[in-house]
């Protein structure tokens, strides 16, 4: 709890909700002693759109577009999580080809998310140029996804039982060309950022997350893997077509910002690997399950499914009472837990580190606010 007093030697700094590097409308109250932080309290909810309440008042299909807007940077993972949960409730079997398309688009979307994070994070640290290089790369993925899904950011692409549109040869060759291009850029990124002495000094040993803290706070995603715990839903609780691909889960050692950064960079390479394998092994067949009911009316029951988004575990908990509308949908979003631990790690750091730590866990505020 933060209380401000004039006679005390500390003072309160209000960071946000409008601040260049709070990535949206996050407000953090910082109790400061000079440039050092003694306590921090985030204020969230500025972007609260009551998605969970909306879910209770719409039928299952009508809630689909909402999923692209919870985490707009990795919208397809949220699409997938929701579709998987409803498919589980309905007992639908998704055709193999549809699963492959889901994996390909999902990983492309993960790449866009990580690339944007990479650029935005460097911008937090004061380097502007990498931001635009990443956007240049990201634009190519957006063009690819645009040609398939029709939108560039808030995708609403997956449907219960499959995907509505098949991928064509142009998409496949475009994706291959893109992966080739992205791989040729790693060296530039390394020289510009990863090896940069200023960057290393800003990130090494700052914002440590220990394994115990991760367990207590339920941290997931690259922030967790940076601390050395190889927990990735794609491997730990395989879903979709992921078990059929070979990929590694990069982990860090110390759990500082640098490790989280490296984990994300390596993860991009793993995503490229997955996409390549999926394109090579793409099976033929239908893209939509055969008997998808026109009216989605799942039987009574509840289900929890988890998928790995760019930020961590997205879990969706649906309670159905046999109606066309879900009785309750709970969205377990990764940044929510990640942010609550991050606040702990602000203590005894400089205000410049707040920006660095905040950026390093890659929060998407609308996802936290829902």
């Amino acid at each position: 709890m933060i209380t401000s007093g004039i006679e005390e030697k500390t003072f309160v700094l209000n960071l946000g909700p409008q601040h260049p590097s709070t990535h949206g409308v996050l407000r953090v109250l910082l109790e400061m002693d000079g440039e050092y932080i003694t306590a921090a309290e985030p204020v969230i909810g500025y972007g609260h759109r009551a998605h969970e309440h909306m879910a209770e008042n719409r039928n299952y299909q009508q809630f689909l577009p909402n999923m692209g807007r919870v985490d707009y940077l990795h919208a397809l993972a949220f699409n997938q999580g929701y579709c998987m949960a409803v498919e589980k409730l309905l007992g639908l079997e998704v055709p193999e080809r549809a699963e492959y398309i889901r994996v390909i688009t999902n990983e492309l979307n993960r790449l866009t998310s990580h690339l944007l994070w990479f650029g935005a994070y460097l911008m937090d640290l004061g380097a502007f140029t990498p931001f635009l290089y990443c956007f240049d790369d990201r634009e190519h993925i957006l063009d690819l996804l645009d040609s398939l899904t029709g939108s560039r950011l808030t995708y609403c692409f997956y449907r219960f039982g499959g995907v509505p549109k098949d991928i064509d040869d142009d998409f496949i060759s475009g994706t291959r060309a893109f992966i080739h291009r992205l791989r040729s850029r790693w060296a530039d990124y390394d020289n510009l950022v990863t090896k940069n002495v200023i960057f290393i000094h800003r990130t090494k040993g700052v914002g440590l997350f220990t394994k115990e803290q991760c367990q207590l706070y339920g941290i997931t995603g690259p922030s967790l893997r940076g601390s050395g715990i190889p927990y990735d839903i794609r491997k730990s609780e395989p879903y979709s077509a992921y078990p059929q691909f070979h990929f590694e889960i990069p982990i860090g050692e110390n759990g500082d910002i640098y490790d989280r950064y490296i984990v994300r960079l390596r993860e991009m390479e793993q995503s490229c690997r997955i996409i390549e394998q999926a394109l090579n092994k793409l099976p033929k067949g239908p893209i939509m399950a055969e008997k998808v009911p026109k009216r989605i009316k799942p039987p009574e029951g509840e289900v929890y499914t988890a998928v790995e988004t760019a930020r961590g575990e997205f879990g969706i908990y649906i309670v159905s009472q046999g109606d066309v509308k879900p009785y309750r949908i709970k969205l377990r979003v990764p940044s929510f837990a990640n942010l609550s631990l991050m606040v702990e790690s602000f203590k005894d750091n400089l205000v410049a580190d707040v920006v660095a730590i905040l950026g390093s866990i890659d929060v998407v505020i609308p996802e936290i606010d829902r």
Partner: protein, 324 residues
């Protein structure tokens, strides 16, 4: 002209013409530099930059200047008014004065003072006072942070700057800028003082508050740092001062290390400006490549690396002079 010369003396006319020339140069130079900065940044980032007003957006900065002049000067209620009003002027005036001694060519120098280099260093240190005034009077926590950082940074970087300059002065034996340039008629001092040049450029970047040392206005941390609360022309003066400061530190570097006006074929003044703009390009290049350093690292860097190295350089120079 004769009347003027008669009543003021040739020295007086020189001063007045020089003053007008300096004011014109400062504003035109700042407009050009801002345009150049935008273009450099844009092309490094694979985009064209301003393209709409004039050929390749050349008049864009003029439009921006007019816009800034036309803007309302917002004064927040809580500010310490006299200091708040004074700060933009204090930041700008010393910058103008330093032009007094810069030798654009053998003859194009307004007043060739005996203590030229010291005058420049003294006046350019005044800008930190203005930043402190601006930050402190704004009554904004971010501004105060910017001001405090700026003071600590300038104190830390003034020392290595002076010491590196000292090693050149040791070689020439004069504080007069024209003497320093004349001493380089055979070879440029960058050849014998490469370390001093690198140290000087680093310190100069820090002195002018440019990335990677732009902590007083660190955008992603402190919103806009010390000038958060300034708007319109007051903000423009800070902006103008920043770019003019860049010109001055580059001009000094040209004088100290790059042989001033010396160069073949072209007239001296053009050589001088070319060298200055090349250095400015270098500083811009830094800005669009590097992330920002952290405040404590910045100070550590100054005290633990720059100052020892500059002392070593000074000692070596003195030794070399003694031996040869």
């Amino acid at each position: 002209m004769d009347v003027l010369t008669h009543s003021l003396g040739s020295e007086g006319v020189r001063m007045i013409v020089g003053l007008i020339g300096v004011i014109a140069l400062v504003s035109v130079n700042a407009l050009f530099l801002i345009w150049m900065e935008r273009k450099v940044a844009a092309h490094m980032q694979l985009r064209p930059g301003p393209m709409e007003v004039g050929p390749h957006g050349a008049i864009q900065t003029v439009c921006d200047a007019v816009k800034l002049m036309g803007k309302e000067l917002i004064t927040p209620e809580e500010v310490d008014k006299p200091i708040y009003y004074l700060a933009p002027i204090v930041v700008f005036l010393p910058v103008l004065l330093t032009f007094l001694v810069i030798p654009f060519s053998q003859t194009m120098v307004i007043k060739d003072l005996n203590v030229g280099i010291i005058l420049i260093l003294a006046f350019s240190s005044l800008s930190v006072l203005a930043i402190l005034m601006a930050g402190w009077s704004s009554k904004n926590k971010y501004s105060v942070f910017g001001a405090i950082r700026s003071v600590a940074q300038n104190i830390a970087y003034e020392i290595p700057l002076l010491i590196t300059v000292m090693s050149v002065i040791l070689m020439v034996g004069s504080f007069k800028l024209t003497d320093i340039v004349v001493a380089q008629s055979r070879y440029w001092f960058i050849l014998v003082q490469p370390l001093a040049f690198i140290l000087y450029i680093i310190c100069a970047t820090a002195e002018t508050n440019r990335t990677p040392f732009d902590l007083p206005e660190a955008e992603s941390e402190l919103v806009a740092g010390f000038h958060t609360e300034y708007s319109g022309m007051r903000f423009a003066l800070f902006f103008l001062a920043e770019y003019t400061n860049m010109f001055i530190v580059s001009a000094v570097a040209t004088v100290l290390f790059l042989g001033g006006w010396h160069g073949p074929i072209l007239p001296g003044a053009i050589w001088f400006l070319l060298k200055v703009y090349a250095l400015i390009f270098l500083i811009m290049w830094f800005r669009w490549t590097f992330p920002r350093v952290r405040f404590d690292q910045l100070v550590t860097f100054a005290w633990k690396i720059l100052i020892p190295l500059s002392f070593v350089n000074l000692l070596l120079t003195a030794l070399a002079l003694k031996i040869f």
